[in-house]
Subunit: 238 residues, 2 copies
C-alpha cells in the first residue's frame, strides 16, 4: 500500500496554516512584544475565528475576490477595540497584520520537507496569498519547489478548483496528488476530488497547553505524527 | 545609482527561455539523441519561431487561454513532416515536447541566483506554464523563492498584466520590481509599466557558433554580462 502510494503519487501539496507553521504560537509570541497586556491566546483565536466566515463571504459572491492579507486586515480592524489595541497606529497595525508572513515552522517541517523533496514535487496548497506564502517560505526556509495558492485558482479550499487545480498544473490525474493537512475538512475536500490524503497530527495547533484531538479518522490514506514520519512511511527515510 | 537600485528593488523577476536556460543548445542536444539525422539547429529555430505567433493568437482571442505546453505541442505537430520525424510515435513526441521542461541552465545561472536570493525575492516571470517551470527548476537546481508565470496572470508577456501582476503579488510599487531578461522587447514592456530593467547578454541564445548582437541599448537601468555580474553590480558580490 505505502510503496504503491510512493510510486503513484508525484506531487505532495501541503496545507500551511497549522500544518506546516504554528500560527497560534507565532501570534502569541508576537503579541507578547506588540501588546504585552493583551491575552495573546484569546487574540490569536479570535483572529483565526474570523477567517472561515470571511472566505465564505468571498466564495458566496457577497464579497469580490479578496486576498487573505486583506481578509486578515478586515478581521484585525474588528479586534482593535475589543482587545484594547487602539494605542497602535496604522503602520503598527499593518505590520501586525503581516505576522501571518512571519509564522514559525513546526520543528520537523523544514527537515521533513527536505527529505520529501528528494522524491516528490512539494508545494503549498494554501488559502494564503502568493506574497504571504513566499515571504513565509523565505524566512522560515521552507524548500518548496513552487508556490501554489488559492490566489492562483481564484477559489478558496475546500472548493474543488483548488485540489483539481494542482493536478491540472502538473498534468496529472487527481490520485497522483496527495494533500497533507492537519484538518479533516480540508482532507475530505481533497478526497472528494480523488486526491490521496495524509493527516498530520498537530496537537498544539490551537493552544500551547491544551492538545487538540488528533485521533485517527477513517478515509485518509495515511495518518502520521509529523513530516519525518511521513517521509519514513512514504520513502523509508525517517 | 546602483546602490539606490539595490535598496529600492525588492523583487527580481527573470525571463526564463534564453535568459536563465539555453533553449537552443538543449534542444540541439536532445535531437542528437532522438533524431540524429535531423538538423537540430534548424529544428530548434523553427520550433521557437512558432512561439510568438501562437501566443499572439491567444492574446488576440482567436484561441482561448492555452498553456505553453499545449502551444509547443501544436507547433511540434506542424514540424513532424517537414523535419522527417514521422518515425516517432505519439509517446515519443510527447516526451520530446517536454524537452522544454528539461532545458539546461546557462553556466552562471544557479550560482548567480543563489547570490541574488540572499538580497532579493527571486522569481521567474515566464510565459512558460507553472508545471514546466517547476519541473525545470527542480531538475536544473534553480533556487526560486516562488514560481510566477503567465499562467497565474492569464496573459502572456508583454501584456502589462504580467509585469504589474508581479508587483501586485508582493504588494509593491512597479519600480520596486526589476525584470531581468535577454530580450529588448520584454524589457521594453516592463519599462512601460514602470519596472526597473536589467539586460543580460546571452550571445549564444540562437546558435552555438554565431553570436547574437548584445550591444547595449538605451533605456535599461543595467546591462550585464551574466548573473554573476548582476550580483556584483547590485550587491557587490561577484
Amino acid at each position: 500500500m505505502t510503496s504503491s502510494l510512493s510510486q503513484s503519487v508525484k506531487v505532495l501539496a501541503f496545507d500551511v496554516f497549522g500544518t506546516v507553521v504554528d500560527w497560534h504560537g507565532s501570534i502569541v509570541d508576537e503579541m507578547r512584544h506588540v501588546a504585552p497586556g493583551v491575552d495573546g491566546h484569546a487574540f490569536a483565536t479570535a483572529w483565526r475565528a474570523g477567517y472561515k466566515p470571511a472566505m465564505a463571504k468571498v466564495m458566496s459572491g457577497e464579497q469580490g475576490w479578496t486576498l487573505i492579507d486583506d481578509l486578515h486586515w478586515q478581521i484585525l480592524q474588528t479586534l482593535v477595540q475589543p482587545f484594547g489595541l487602539s494605542h497602535l497606529d496604522e503602520a503598527q497595525l499593518r505590520h501586525l497584520n503581516k505576522v501571518w508572513h512571519r509564522l514559525q515552522a513546526w520543528p520537523d517541517s523544514v527537515g521533513g520537507l527536505m527529505k520529501l523533496k528528494r522524491h516528490f514535487i512539494i508545494t503549498p496548497l494554501s488559502n494564503g496569498n502568493l506574497g504571504l506564502l513566499t515571504h513565509m517560505a523565505k524566512r522560515a526556509g521552507l524548500p518548496w519547489d513552487c508556490v501554489l495558492s488559492a490566489e492562483v485558482f481564484k477559489a478558496y479550499k475546500p472548493d474543488p478548483a483548488t485540489y483539481l487545480g494542482v493536478a491540472k498544473v502538473f498534468d496529472l490525474q487527481p490520485h497522483e496528488v496527495m494533500l497533507v493537512a492537519a484538518h479533516h475538512d480540508d482532507l475530505e475536500g481533497a478526497r472528494r476530488c480523488g486526491l490521496r490524503t495524509a493527516y498530520v497530527e498537530r496537537p498544539w495547533e490551537f493552544s500551547r497547553t491544551e492538545a487538540k484531538d488528533v485521533s485517527p479518522q477513517p478515509g485518509n490514506d495515511l495518518h502520521v505524527r509529523d513530516f519525518f514520519e511521513l517521509a519514513q512511511v512514504l520513502v523509508g527515510e525517517g
